[in-house]
């Protein structure tokens, strides 16, 4: 792929995240990248976003952690991860060989924990950017998620911005009344981009066991089932922020990615669809190029946001 697909995030940071095409992996669905190195040519992927990583190892939620739903999957993994220390020791030395930029997804229960992980990442080699997972309960504040409140989301963003020179993406949760307000708040607090949506909270009951199917009870829904909700939220956020918007939620093929791009997304992420077919992310990369070629579209920028109000929709008479 050529210049036509290349995008830049964090253009004002000392080392912007420049990716060869706008298709990234989504946090929590691609491990730390190395898990897929034997299956896929990762040099064709735009960027890899890692599993969310906390300051210390986390055991996570009780089993079962994933339950299939119609055209989707509900999960509650509970941020099970080896902690930033082990991630930097065991995975970071291998990232160079993946030949794709690696964005570290950062999670925490307190602002201090996010800052600690970001500081460790700042000192490490081989990390091209950070993505803040703000769909975590803010422990000092009780059960309120950082990402559901503009002020909490802005606080954690500003604190991390204060300690990192890396391009900073904030991943927004759909589980709040006003996603655009949170997006504006994190933009003002120094985010270089926002990605959305994280999973939508849901519940599946196992009727034979007469209890929730997931060990945690509720979980986050992802997959094709949530795509219209995700496209709508990207479309709303893209109308209010000036920073790049990265769209995700139910992308299974290039046509899905194009919906997000036309709704205003600069880039997209492919998540749980990769479980069924690990090469989904490459299928999206190739399909995007094919579609643009067959439609005479020279660059992603040419169609980005064309479906926004006042956009350049195709005239019915000319189609």
């Amino acid at each position: 792929m050529s210049q036509a697909y290349s995008i830049t995030i964090g253009g004002s940071t000392p080392s912007p995240l420049v990716i060869r095409n706008p298709v990234m992996s989504a946090a929590g669905t691609f491990g730390y990248g190395v898990e897929y190195a034997r299956l896929l040519d990762l040099s064709r992927v735009g960027a890899i976003v890692t599993k969310s990583t906390t300051a210390r190892p986390r055991a996570g939620a009780p089993m079962p952690r994933w339950v299939e739903t119609p055209s989707g999957v509900l999960n509650a993994v509970g941020l099970n991860n080896p902690g930033i220390g082990r991630v930097l020791r065991e995975y970071a030395p291998k990232w160079d060989r993946l030949r794709a930029p690696v964005v570290l997804s950062v999670a925490g229960e307190t602002v201090e924990e996010y800052v600690e992980v970001a500081e460790r990442a700042e000192e490490a080699e081989g990390i091209a950017g950070l993505e803040l997972n703000v769909s975590c309960p803010n422990v000092p504040e009780g059960s309120v998620w950082f990402g559901t409140d503009p002020e909490l989301a802005a606080n954690v963003t500003a604190a991390v911005r204060g300690v990192t020179s890396l391009p900073l993406i904030v991943k927004l949760t759909p589980n709040t009344a006003s996603v655009p307000d949170v997006a504006l708040a994190v933009e003002a607090a120094g985010a270089d981009a926002v990605s959305l949506v994280n999973t939508i909270t849901g519940l599946v009951i196992d009727i034979e066991m007469r209890r929730p199917a997931l060990g945690n009870g509720t979980g986050g829904l992802s997959g094709a089932a949530i795509r219209p909700v995700a496209v709508r939220l990207v479309w709303e956020v893209a109308q209010v922020v000036s920073i790049p918007v990265i769209g995700l939620g139910g992308i299974t093929r290039a046509e899905d990615a194009l919906q997000f791009i036309m709704a205003g997304a600069t880039a997209v992420q492919v998540g749980s669809a990769g479980f069924g077919r690990p090469d989904t992310i490459l299928t999206v990369v190739d399909g995007l190029a094919d579609w643009m070629g067959s439609h005479g579209v020279g660059s992603v920028e040419e169609i980005r946001g064309c479906a926004l109000p006042g956009g350049t929709a195709v005239d019915e008479s000319s189609n």
Partner: protein, 212 residues
């Protein structure tokens, strides 16, 4: 299947099969396979859900998408002469692959089939003795054990081994729900005395005594 992939389908290793036509069902299904020649693998499917129902409607010549084989091969402990296998129909592909391998190396094999049904029993090679209980007699005969099944059946194998006072090399292959198959989704955690492990990449077999 390509010969090199067939060759790689060793006992315990599994394929992730894509089921359905588009996004429904959404997740792939892990299946152990039994290698039967240089070009073919056998796969027995117990029909019990939407994925297996779809698989059961495939016709000869239909194409199946998969990735793998994944997971670690199951080894016979050195100097094994009498191998005891234990499980139910859900572990049948794995048990039969183990049995084939053991028989080929001149090892005697007994298979404890829980909830025995005649079909499962008929699929086993004729040299395999079919038993109905994992009891002290069976354990006294064996010099190695593999128990395949859900958490509770693997745990009862552990209990049987203990109460028989047996010290033979013994392995549990607990079923764990797989979403990704490659260690990315952290959905198939198996608790061991050495901490949490992922069944998909660290397993499927674990020392029976280490499983908690």
């Amino acid at each position: 299947m390509e010969p090199r992939l067939v060759q790689a389908c060793e006992p315990g290793r599994y394929l992730m099969l894509t089921v359905g036509e588009s996004s429904d069902p959404y997740l792939p299904r892990p299946y152990w396979v039994r290698r039967v020649s240089k070009l073919w693998v056998n796969l027995f499917v117990g029909v019990n859900g939407i994925g297996s129902r779809w698989l059961a409607t495939r016709r000869p010549g239909d194409r199946l998408d998969f990735f793998g084989p994944l997971g670690l091969r199951l080894e016979l402990p050195p100097r094994t002469r009498r191998l005891l296998l234990s499980g139910d129909h859900s572990g049948l592909n794995c048990l039969l692959a183990l049995a084939d391998n053991a028989l080929a190396s001149g090892v005697e094999v007994s298979l404890v089939l829980h909830e025995v049904d005649d079909t499962s029993a008929r699929l086993a090679p004729s040299e395999v003795e079919i038993l109905s209980a994992l009891d002290a007699d069976a354990l006294a005969w064996a010099d190695a054990l593999y128990a395949v099944g859900d958490h509770s059946s693997v745990q009862s194998a552990r209990t049987a081994l203990r109460s028989a006072g047996s010290r033979i090399p013994a392995f549990g292959v607990p079923h764990a729900p797989l979403a990704c198959g490659v260690g990315a989704c952290y959905g198939c955690v198996v608790e061991t005395r050495n901490g949490a492990r992922l069944s998909c990449v660290d397993g499927p077999a674990f020392a029976l005594g280490d499983l908690t």
